[in-house]
Symmetry: D2
Subunit: 382 residues, 4 copies
């Protein structure tokens, strides 16, 4: 078997997760990594068991063996690196957000179209098999017309004022945090499942900790919990810890999302409830192997992630039999499986099953409008 050769840039929390997921695919091989500087890159490559280490991204792009590049660096680097990778003729899988601004994202979408190369954004949550099952239910008309959508995405890793991370710094993370970081995942899931488009938003943000304590040495995402209260500097915070956004969709149906990064006890919990004229579906990321299906005239259902029970489109994302839970790591594997099918065919499909740069642009656009709505205190068109 000729394996597709891949290079991964950025080796913080999510880069190694990409690498591990890619390794599960029989026809893909991560041959190179890139991180800042030769020394760090080499050390990490050694730990990760990867052959080649590049201290400079451009050098990795210059490696002719590499067909596809994953961009897992901090947010503000996504745009220039994705652009450079496309220009170097690589297929590109980019972490979200795709870019810093809508304008940049539009540029990438156009550039990707021009090159014809595969472009994907790591909206991996779509790859929980029951997310696709809900989408397929909707496509088959099993939900009927959708009335309303209620979503929450709650975390607690920034609960204390002493919790700190680069995501708190607007110059690295953008003008929005809770909405951009986790709200974007939620919005993507909602549009993906319902097939609807958000056309108006009305937002209200809160910054629960207007000042935080920044540690004087760097720490990685999520590991912040472990920090001791020493060597901190005071930092004013201008991004939201919490936000609620009311939504209006293109068919007149309505919805609402709430996100928070300061909800004690909620480690990383998405709740999604979509009500249609036939049935309601409810899914929670903390028990991702179950979907609840609400009915007016008979018992409600709880459908397990079981390849023998879900729709064919969803079964394609399942590796293990019912009752053998799959989780977060499996979502990236399934996403990459679909992306690399396209990579092997050499070009972006006409109707990709995976999330693309266009989806990345879409989320940036929605985020911008949400931020604008919060500033204006009014409904804003998307």
């Amino acid at each position: 078997m000729q394996k597709t050769k891949v290079g991964v840039a950025g080796l913080g929390f999510i880069g190694p997760a990409h690498i591990e997921a890619l390794r599960r695919l029989p026809d893909v091989e991560v041959v190179a990594v890139n991180d800042f500087g030769d020394e760090i890159a080499k050390a990490k490559a050694q730990t990760l068991g990867i052959e080649k280490a590049y201290g400079k991204f451009d050098d990795m792009l210059a490696d002719p063996e590499i067909e596809c590049v994953h961009i897992c660096t901090p947010n503000f680097l996504h745009f220039p690196m994705a652009k450079a990778a496309l220009e170097a003729g690589k297929h590109v899988v980019c972490e979200k957000p795709l870019a810093n601004t809508v304008k940049e994202a539009e540029e990438l979408v156009a550039l990707a179209a021009k090159t014809g190369k595969v472009n994907a954004v790591h909206f991996n949550l779509r790859y929980y098999p029951l997310i696709r099952h809900m989408r397929t239910m909707r496509e088959k008309g099993e939900l009927g017309n959708i009335h309303s959508v209620i979503g929450t995405y709650l975390q607690d890793w920034l609960f204390y004022a002493t919790d700190y991370n680069w995501r708190l710094e607007p110059d690295k993370s953008g003008d929005s945090r809770a909405i951009a970081d986790i709200g974007s995942h939620l919005m993507d899931l909602i549009e993906y499942i319902t097939g609807l488009e958000v056309v108006q938003v009305m937002a209200d943000f809160a910054t629960v900790h207007p000042n935080r304590k920044k540690p004087l040495k760097e720490v990685e995402t999520y590991s912040g919990k472990m920090l001791q209260p020493e060597d901190y500097a005071d930092v004013p915070i201008n991004t939201e810890d919490y936000a609620t956004v009311m939504l209006r969709f293109n068919d007149g149906s309505k919805g609402v999302i709430t996100v928070s990064q300061v909800s004690a006890g909620r480690k990383n919990r998405i709740n999604l409830e979509i009500s249609g004229s036939k049935q309601t579906v409810h899914w929670c990321s903390e028990s991702p192997n179950d979907v609840w299906i609400g009915k007016r005239d008979s018992a409600n259902e709880v459908l397990m992630r079981d390849p023998a029970l879900v729709h064919r489109e969803s079964a394609a994302l399942i590796s293990f039999p019912g009752g053998h839970n799959e989780g977060f790591p499996d979502t990236s594997k399934q996403l990459f499986k679909e992306v690399y099918k396209a990579v092997r065919e050499g070009k972006q499909p006409d109707n990709p099953s995976f999330p693309t740069f266009a989806d990345g642009l879409r989320e940036l656009l929605i985020c911008e409008r949400i931020i604008e709505s919060n500033k204006k205190q009014a409904w804003v068109n998307v």
Copy 2:
């Protein structure tokens, strides 16, 4: 034992529930009922095992034996009947909503204050023991400063366009339905538990069925599910099936509620999540004997309704040991237990533990502002 004599007016769905709850109290006796017309009143009194039947409310008010009157009639009658009852020198327990308008409610609050008689509104959901436990936790500072409140109240009894009930008719039910009927319960719980006051609201309503089919014969609340699709008349609907309201509280914290009466599979489900600077609490009316307590630095907790485990204030509302579930019928019993303690003392207490006409007024005020916000499409001060 000298029992307190009570008369109950209105014998649809909720009146008999009041009667059954009152009978559980050793020191209260329902001696009379009132419904429209002598014949119906007598028949229902017979079925309910009540001594006296009044076809006219005024006649029941004239009965000197009766100390306290419960008003369980359709919404539009609450105001005139409560007023008459107070003027007749009775203590009054009124179903919600207290009145048709804020103005009427203000009149009742003033009148009640003048008479000094006990006045209560049947916000019975406060009497789930764990609702009071959450309130007590908050009072003791166990939640810390509250950051955010997320609430939903979802039903499906009006799911179909063929579902019909007097609550759908504005002349009987008012300008709002989902918010007034169930949103008011949710708002009451939120202010009751948090001790905060809503100071601004931003609402968005949806009428999922702008036309409904009205049956030509009358049916009682909740029994509508059983109706056959025959003998219906087309009726345009101008009240909301769904609403989301963003909330701002007097201390700057924020929240959101969503209510719906068209969510298939959700029979009558309240979800309430309150996040503070110390802990989060979550409670759901479908498993009312558990409260989830979220923590950042240790395992989350699930506290059962157990008199040995909850705060003393909550234990007072518990009749059975842990693991012996209590439910909806028990909430009214506990509410009345506290109301009739006041009745026996002959006057409204200074700081009543039970919900009063002032609470009923409060909910009408908030509802009015929510309706106004939906009309104006803007934030409105409460």
Copy 3:
């Protein structure tokens, strides 16, 4: 309405619960109570709002107004009091266990048959509406042939060696405790739902605390948790804290139950899972308003206690709409409703819907065989 007059004997934990449940019925009136000695009886009658107080049971039996007597005294008194009540021509509702021995119970069954009076045992757990729904499912063949039954009944109110109660003393409670107290409820539910008869048992008991600390003053059931570790006497315990019993039914199917009164955190939890050739059903007393229905070829179901969704036989036990949880107190109300229908007709029905003395005898028989099996360390025929 002519109300049926009732007297209740024994006013510890469960007697007042009977009284409260009876009061919810429109056509029943508790007119008298009996407890040990005039003074106590009078004080308790006063608190409970009951007209007449009898210090002697025989005096209550001599009251011609009283048609039906409830026996809620400690276990060892059930037999003589039930016997006396039947002989006095009363209908009798007896707490479980019906008697101290199988022989006594047989005497009561025969005596009751001779008198023709209504006889019932308070196996109230049958009256959770979804218990009857599962029974009806089985009767209608919806479960198919039953393969296996797995049941647990776990409590923690005797968790500590310092937890003490009269139920720990064999002279008052019999040779078995966990099996007799809670196992009997579980066995009754299993035979009631499945319609099968246990024909062989194989038991293993454990006494986790072979010595306990007895308080020098009396305390009531369940309130023991509150005791301070003072004024205790050492008492050797010869009844089981824990038991597992393997079961064989008359059709060859099999099962197992485990009971424990020393499982920390399990306040009063029954779990019951019944697998048939068509479906599995699972029910838990901590969420009694849901039943889980397991299917091989489609999504599993969760059916809520909703009068519009359950079988008609179960809907008869439901007072409130779906989503308005009913609980433990409601089970006794529903049981008594069926019993008093018979009382008003003046005699035991041919096929009573409620549990009878014969059912009480049945549980004593099974308990005796379980105790024998544990002693013999072998399978024993029932």
Copy 4:
């Protein structure tokens, strides 16, 4: 990095799962596979992206590059292949059951000890992080003295008489099925967590389908659900579909397990409840990222699989932050991570953290005694 070279034998359901799990480790490389016959082996190696394909196991053993061999063939081949692999000087990871008989397993344990090579059995369920957390809780005394253990392991993949698989044939699978296949996992977890040894067993087996329909062409494990009812042959079944086993442990504590492969709706569900003198713990494989901790005197707890919250010993098995569910595939990865640490050190550790051939022997011994107990209908010493 010098990667450890591995060969995997047997490519049905579980072999590819081993391969995928191994690939996630940065320092391990699966270089060869073995299946029956060159053609099949080559085809599967191609699909799996593995370099070398061996049609004969001995040829793979002769490959000097290969340091460690995984045996994933049908049960009856485990013994001869493990033996051959050890004799060839390889480290060995064997699927369960280790052998056909206790005698064979003893031979393997002795042989492994003689060679000093790493030997492991794929009891992967131990590697759910919260399983190890419960074990660590017990080691630290947080459970106190264990009173009782209740376990169930329920499946439905053999629910119908038309469900067929090689595991139904005693010549391939042994004298026991439900106990050997899934009961062994459960017993292993119980002894692993509690640190207790089962010293006596009392079993009762049931064969719900004494005759099954065998398809005329072969099918793989779990995929049987998809079979059509055609081309079947009648086959008498002599292994159990269901079993309950009462347990006694070396410290006098007691327990019970029930296993079934015919429980509709239970795809693959383990429930485990362990009660000690301080706390109870409960874990279910369908929500493996939560453990319930029961307490007598305070709220119960639900601890999530969060590296910041669990004991250090358990955190070592966690790759993703709290709220990012890990599942079944991750257990094998974590097991292999510990095994290959030993492989790199070249020999079996003194106190291996992973399950060894001795553990495989232990489970065979317990299974034999359980089978004997069922035959004798009596308690049997282990």
